[in-house]
């Protein structure tokens, strides 16, 4: 008996929806076993990481605030990934977006209000888009691999941040600590639910998936992206300019990451310090795949990842697992989802066979 893969006539929609759910469940089980092997109470750890944030209502606001940037960045990245464009520098675009927003805020000094905040957010989108335009131009003009260039620019962005918050933008009243001064109260986003930390950015993260869904499924642009991704040759024949698609998908990814950075600054953190880059840009790549590059999927997957972030902090205090554990769970989910991709296009069947499956050397 051996397993045989049979190509399905049509990609399975049921599997598209089922596999992400199964991936999360499988990750929970494997995590439980691994933790027990490491001498940590695995059941307790998994419950705290995956369920406590959902069951304890006082954790909901943390989940919402953490999910917002993940969803927004993942939406932008999904567009690129659909066109087989790999922007893995969203973290850098997020940083530059936040810095641009902070720069506008500082330029306005004590002046605040609706238009200033709007300008700050637009500056964030522009900054993130511009940072992503560098790998976009390098890719379309000089054929430079965007994976490497976008990632290298993330390290550069971190140095720009370090320079600005430790130098020209350092808070003069901040005890020489490298951080910007807190934003003026009227340069920040309004709080939506009184008494919580849920800010306007959370609402934006809830609405944007539907906007992206409309554009990707109803507009020509969405079609163009999918054609360029699945068959560049067909795209050329169809008169689609794949270079323009590559350019625009990268810049959209950057603008969304920049937006997330600006919203995080004006809505959640109110100041930038060296700890501002928190890896949202990398986790959003996982969100985008866990959400199957679908805008609504990204919304749900963003919440799942946010739960593991918040739950990871819970488990840090209850079962004393290290900070890095949430990252392991997130990577495991990504492995699972990638491994289960094959179930969409193939079905697995048990067939009798005389010859055992060839075992690969090494």
């Amino acid at each position: 008996m051996r397993l045989k893969l049979e190509k399905r006539p049509e990609p399975s929609i049921a599997m598209q929806v089922l596999t992400p759910i199964l991936s999360v469940v499988a990750t929970m089980f494997i995590g439980m076993i691994v933790f027990d092997l490491l001498g940590i109470d695995g059941f307790r750890a998994v419950v705290d990481i995956f369920l406590t944030p959902l069951l304890a209502s006082y954790k909901w606001q943390d989940v919402a605030v953490k999910a917002a940037p993940l969803i927004i960045i993942a939406l932008g990245l999904s567009v690129g990934n659909r066109a087989q464009v790999w922007n893995i520098g969203a973290e850098g675009q997020y940083i530059i977006g936040a810095l641009c927003a902070a720069g506008v805020g500082i330029a306005f000094g004590p002046v605040g209000g609706f238009f200033v905040v709007l300008l700050m957010i637009l500056a964030g989108m522009l900054g993130g888009g511009a940072w992503a335009a560098v790998p976009a131009v390098l890719r379309t003009r000089f054929n430079v691999n965007e994976i490497l260039s976008s990632l290298m620019l993330t390290y550069v962005a971190a140095q720009v941040l370090s320079y600005l918050v430790g130098g020209p933008w350092k808070d003069p009243n901040g005890r020489n600590f490298p951080a910007t001064a807190p934003l003026q109260p009227d340069q920040t986003l309004p709080i939506l639910v009184p008494g919580t930390t849920i800010h306007l950015g959370v609402l934006i993260a809830l609405v944007l998936p539907f906007v992206f869904w409309l554009v990707m499924s109803r507009a020509v642009f969405g079609y163009q992206v999918r054609v360029v991704g699945s068959s560049p040759q067909a795209a050329r024949h169809g008169g689609f300019d794949s270079r323009r698609t590559i350019m625009s998908t990268l810049i959209i990814g950057g603008a969304m990451a920049g937006l997330a950075g600006a919203l995080e600054l004006t809505g959640a953190l109110k100041a930038i310090n060296l700890g501002f880059p928190s890896g949202y840009g990398f986790s959003a790549i996982i969100v985008s795949f866990l959400g199957r590059l679908n805008p609504i999927g990204c919304l749900i997957a963003g919440i799942v990842l946010a739960v593991t972030y918040v739950g990871g902090q819970v488990a840090q205090t209850t079962v004393h697992i290290p900070n890095a554990t949430a990252g392991i769970f997130q990577a495991m989910m990504l492995f699972m989802i990638l491994a289960s991709d094959i179930l969409i296009r193939y079905r697995v069947r048990l067939v009798a066979s005389a010859k055992p499956q060839t075992v690969a050397g090494e």
């Binding site: 260039s149 290298m152 320079y163 790549i285 990577a331 492995f335």
Partner: protein, 307 residues
């Protein structure tokens, strides 16, 4: 500048070059077989902690290097099963390996923070390895010489042996290689494992030689520079060696510029320099378009035999 300073600078360059040279050689072989593994950074970190842990327990750095190679190769198998057996997307899977390796190495490393390991004893007599001048040639850890020896060995393997020819055939045209009876998947497993082992040893150079201590994320993006190095080198071993030293010099300049307090530019400028220069170097190489001829034709594409 005195002779002492020049020697110290040269030795810094060699030290900084070694990890990216090792990881770059491994990735070059993996890519020659048609597989793009973006998990180099994760495999380096897994190698760094594995090598460190083995050395802590055995007090033997040689076993530590073996452990590092094993740790890197073992983590690469996770990637290999997914992309070879399940045809998953190579870019995303490699990325997952980097995220996973970063997290798992931090978790394992918790109990090793603050420990130190015995250093390698030199393979040359102290009269040479401690000599104020000749230490520039004889004064390194054995890993450095291993990396240098692996350059001609890899070149010889790829271009002068039958196994190397098969590996390149699999990377150039997987379907043809398959139809004349070579195991595409088997060759790729071996190439990925080699890439993982070399990245692991490269990572161990950080935890066992440079610091020698464990700190999470201690490879600081060098895995990505190794990936850029392979493109920069146009998939050629000789150019990989030259490129590795070019990047090594850049990173040494950063250290010296910071130490010398070049105040006309902030220190962050020098820290960002290797990354900016990587982008610049990739642009120059890619714009010339000459490296395309040497890029394996099947790089990054899944292999689906029609039978």
């Amino acid at each position: 500048m005195t002779l002492d300073l020049i020697i110290a600078a040269l030795m810094t360059v060699v030290g900084l070059t070694t990890p990216i040279l090792l990881a770059g050689l491994g990735e070059l072989v993996t890519e020659k077989s048609g597989v793009l593994n973006l998990g180099v950074e994760g495999m380096m970190l897994m190698g760094a902690i594995s090598g460190f842990a083995v050395t802590v327990f055995t007090f033997n750095p040689w076993l530590g290097v073996l452990g590092a190679a094993f740790g890197g190769a073992a983590s690469s198998m996770l990637f290999a099963v997914l992309v070879l057996q399940l045809n998953s997307n190579q870019v995303a899977t490699g990325l997952a390996l980097t995220i996973f390796g970063t997290g798992l190495s931090s978790l394992i490393g918790l109990s090793f923070v603050g420990r130190i390991v015995p250093p390698f004893s030199s393979i040359f007599p102290a009269a040479l390895s401690r000599h104020p001048v000749w230490q520039v040639i004889f004064g390194y850890s054995p890993i450095v010489y291993f990396a240098l020896i692996m350059v001609p060995i890899t070149a010889w393997f790829l271009h002068r042996t039958r196994a190397g020819l098969i590996l390149r055939a699999v990377g150039e045209n997987d379907h043809s290689a398959h139809s004349i009876g070579y195991s595409v998947v088997g060759v790729r497993y071996a190439a990925i494992a080699f890439g993982g082992a070399m990245a692991g040893i490269g990572g161990a150079y950080f935890s066992m030689v440079i610091t020698p201590m464990w700190a999470e994320k201690m490879t600081a993006g060098r895995g990505w520079i190794a990936l850029a190095l392979v493109v920069f080198a146009g998939w050629r071993t000789g150019r990989l060696l030259a490129g590795a030293y070019f990047f090594g010099i850049l990173m040494a300049l950063e250290l010296y510029a910071k130490a010398a307090g070049f105040s006309f530019m902030p220190s962050q400028f020098w820290a960002a320099m290797p990354y900016l220069m990587t982008v610049a170097a990739l642009t120059i190489i890619s714009a010339r378009g000459t490296q395309g001829a040497n890029a394996p034709a099947c790089l990054g594409k899944p292999f689906l035999p029609s039978t």
